[in-house]
Symmetry: C2
Subunit: 449 residues, 2 copies
Amino acid sequence: MRLSQFYLPTLKETPGEAQIASHRFMLRSGMIRQQAAGIYAWLPLGLRVLRKIEAIVREEQERAGAVELLMPTIQPASLWEESGRFDAYGPEMLRIKDRSGRDMLYGPTNEEMITEIVRASTKSYKQLPQLLYHIQWKFRDELRPRFGVMRGREFLMKDTYSFDASPEDARKSYLKMFAAYLRTFRRMGLETVPVKADPGPIGGDLTHEFVVLAENGESDVFLDRRLLGKGVPGADTDFSGDLEPMFKDWTSHYAATDEMHDEAAWAEVEEAEKLSLRGIEVGHIFYFGTKYSEPLRAKVQTAEGEEVAMEMGSYGIGVSRLLGALIEAHHDEHGPKWPVSVAPFHVGIVNLRPGDEGTDKLTAEVEAELTAAGVEVLTDDTKDRAGEKFARMDLCGLPHVLTIGPKGVAAGEIEWKRRDTGEKSALPQAEAAKTITREVQEALAALQR
Amino acid sequence: MRLSQFYLPTLKETPGEAQIASHRFMLRSGMIRQQAAGIYAWLPLGLRVLRKIEAIVREEQERAGAVELLMPTIQPASLWEESGRFDAYGPEMLRIKDRSGRDMLYGPTNEEMITEIVRASTKSYKQLPQLLYHIQWKFRDELRPRFGVMRGREFLMKDTYSFDASPEDARKSYLKMFAAYLRTFRRMGLETVPVKADPGPIGGDLTHEFVVLAENGESDVFLDRRLLGKGVPGADTDFSGDLEPMFKDWTSHYAATDEMHDEAAWAEVEEAEKLSLRGIEVGHIFYFGTKYSEPLRAKVQTAEGEEVAMEMGSYGIGVSRLLGALIEAHHDEHGPKWPVSVAPFHVGIVNLRPGDEGTDKLTAEVEAELTAAGVEVLTDDTKDRAGEKFARMDLCGLPHVLTIGPKGVAAGEIEWKRRDTGEKSALPQAEAAKTITREVQEALAALQR
């Protein structure tokens, strides 16, 4: 992609309302633009990252056996009256009357609707387990939206819902999602820790939050150091196999947010292993049994001919929130440092002198070779000053930047800068595209293992 | 995909409210489920078709040089007060008050918002042309939603918006979209005709509707027969080149819907060329000049230093509506006949005797070979009766169905049925996957040319 053909409205000034790095950099690098409090338009650079995160979430859901559907954003209130949540849900729910005066709402979550869908088609235990997910925009009318996409009002979430005939089977579904979540976040280049969580308004007793460790995190996390750097379930994981050992391995060390912190249990952790850090919640999984299937009468016949309410769980990932979490975890003072798997482009090329025959030719050649190899390139072909171009590349946070100028063309070299370490080196022209392709492919493969 | 792992809640009975084939088949084949009047959940089979349509729309937009962004569903009323449309827009607009009492709305269209975005970043003619698009859910509060996804309330649309410094350049943008639309619909296996249209509430004088010809179409179309079967712009079209000859070729024959029908001009068409048919609108393109840029003060400096309002156009495709149009154009009494480019799966395999060693083994082999070649397979591995399985495959409308039973295993043959013609033949086992792969690839390539 040529910058002259793209739409990248970067800002020189930091908007006053942006208090944290991710909000600041997303506004400044032209990833998002605010349309109302907590409501953003996703500009092309931001949308590319959002789509990559979505694709990773989708791939790992499919790997774990979940099937995708898509529920609408607007729901009838009647469903929520069945579960009793229409009145119970607070002012975060955006309530709407349609032109005929019917009560509607913009879905803040989808337990009721998915239960309605599954109860209509599922009559026998033989049709279970069922693991269904969707990725959809939601609305929660926060009183004080802030921190950009970290606490917006309209936001993108992935929700999975599990339906099983017994608590034992429901636990298996829970463990599948637990394993899928560990893989999902690791593939994005995030270190997450599953911590015991507060079930909150969704209810249930088996529940974990997945927390990204980051200095600017919103909550305190207390954890056993041995949870860091732990290997996640591999790409070859058998999701229909026994996931209990994996689950035990991850949950046998202390880990809790401040709301669930247990001083007595914490005191038993060896001093040398104690870590107290800040974290950002990016996923939350719940097993809540028959909390919704009972009032909504979503029942199946068991093998014994008995009628039982289905055992349910729900599993959320904050897809748009992850952009904020990723930047909080990976940035410096100049901008984000995107992990290669979620970077808007893998490589930036700075043509220092567009219009010069030599730099134009070399730029086009390297660009073509990278593109043919499946590497995504953003080429700065503008006439802006060199300093401005370099600052913009840093602000965009692409993992690799190649600089092509007249001196390099004469010397047969291309300058290569890695965004993560800032390391610079000179690559022979003939090898530049091959080297970068290998770097990108190896980094992607390492994250997918 | 194994049917036992999928979620396909087909219905035996036709729901009473479904008056037309597409609505009936989408409900019966488990593609959608109604959640409220004109509001549907997209079940896995339907979502797969929706995503394929979306992908074709996206590829052809990118080919024409449009850049993707994503605007939110909820908009502040203030923007619409600037354009004067907040009061002018009818009761189809879903108006909302948030918890702080601010007027908001669920976007029925996005001219105001995109103008706000572009005016903030664009000060000079040098930054133009700009062609931006998004694919997003919209809401129009129809008084009588009907015909399923053909006239729903929550629906998916692609909107492109063009910004130019002069009417001449705006016409170039218009022609790019005109060409892209011809390609987009043809790739889905649809015959569409661009007809002169009524600008309606968006305004403007250069405007075309793209109409699919189908018996159950909603409006009358009068057209010159020579428009049928006309070649669309090829994959190698130079979108920055001169598109006027293509435009002239397509617009020099008479074509109008009843609202724009001109009896005098129609009388001049040779009798033998006159066709009067029914059509379904699937796209609508408008050039409306400064209708929004003027009130919203979206201005640029020209090369002469003059300040002018940007010339704008908007270009819509009804993405979710296209599923209905596709079925109306391609079905028989048993179900849809999906063109290969938008089929939920390319091939269905019916294993007539799951549990039988021979049929299981052959099924797995053919499935694996097709999948490895990139062909999408849905395998019926259930214990339902053969008749039920065949009826379900017809209802799903997959282009090819392979039937694997004990007799065929013994004879070394697999039965192959083409959904479009109903033609059946026997394929030697060793060649079945290769033959089907070639069929699928050739059909896809023919549509992409």
